[in-house]
Amino acid sequence: MEMALDAELDVSDEALLVMYANGDPCASRRLTMRLSPRVLGYASRMLGDMAEAEDVVQEAMLRLWKIAPEWRMGEAKVTTWLYRVVANLCTDRLRKVRPVDLDAVAEPFDDQPGAEAQLQSKARAQALEAALMQLPERQRQAVVLRHLEGVSNPEIAQIMGVTVEAVESLTARGKRALSQALSGRRQELGYEDG
């Protein structure tokens, strides 16, 4: 299902949050449309389970709504704060939970009939998801934020509570491990053809 993106990019997340706190009835919808896809992607890749990721997103957004009246403009980016909350919620769940079920990892997306190329592209995405789940949690966190969510290294450092150098190290090690895990699957996943 395609969702309309928030087209009004000129209004910052912070401003929308203040508007929400002041009772604006539209601000919550715009924030939800803007922020929930980002944190859902992050949570699903951290947890490898869509249902759990959705619960985390709901909980994180609930905390955002509650903190809105106390939000101080200029102190932190809303996305940084939210990613950090999601990171903590995911860590809590990963500590409680279970061995990773790779079958569950391989199906984070809705099934949509499509051309072969589309299926191959999805297969590659799923292969990456599965490989990500094999990484240590901190490496996975850094790689997902940097290379899938497009977050800058300084912002990742804030989210993870480490230095920028540590983020670079985690990302580099994570990418090396991913390359090893995916090596040899290029032909199988159709890159030779494309």
């Binding site: 896809p37 869509m50 709504w65 995405a125 995916l182």
Partner: protein, 121 residues
């Protein structure tokens, strides 16, 4: 970029293309929470409590910040200090002046008739 990195970049691109999208149920759950929280009266703990220094901070802001307040305070203290310690010396002068002043009358300030007559002769 090495071959490994190039290959990995392709995997990342595909994963981004297939990023999960919140479905209508999740959006409804999130918005329901938002409406519930927004409808609640703000708890007292969430209201910013004016601190002990809040009134002073307000005054300091009006004056131009704590730097200005520090300067004004220093000037005020110096004034009080000068007032107490310097008043002894000045007191002697003013006492003399007042004492001397008490010995003069109004006619002491006007020239005598003898002087005026002497000028006309």
């Amino acid at each position: 970029m090495t071959e490994d990195e190039t290959e990995l970049a392709l995997f990342f691109a595909d994963a981004q293309k297939h990023a999960p999208i919140p479905d209508a149920k999740l959006v409804a759950r999130v918005l329901s929470d938002a409406n519930t929280v927004q409808g609640q009266p703000q708890p007292e703990s969430a209201l910013p409590k004016p601190g002990f220094w809040a009134p002073l901070r307000h005054i300091a802001d009006l004056l131009g910040g704590w730097g200005v307040v520090a300067g004004l305070s220093a000037a005020a203290v110096a004034g009080v200090w000068i007032g107490y310690t310097g008043s002894a010396g000045l007191g002697a002068v003013t006492a003399d002046f007042l004492t001397l002043g008490a010995e003069y009358e109004l006619d002491d300030m006007t020239p005598s008739i003898d002087l005026l007559l002497a000028e006309g002769s």
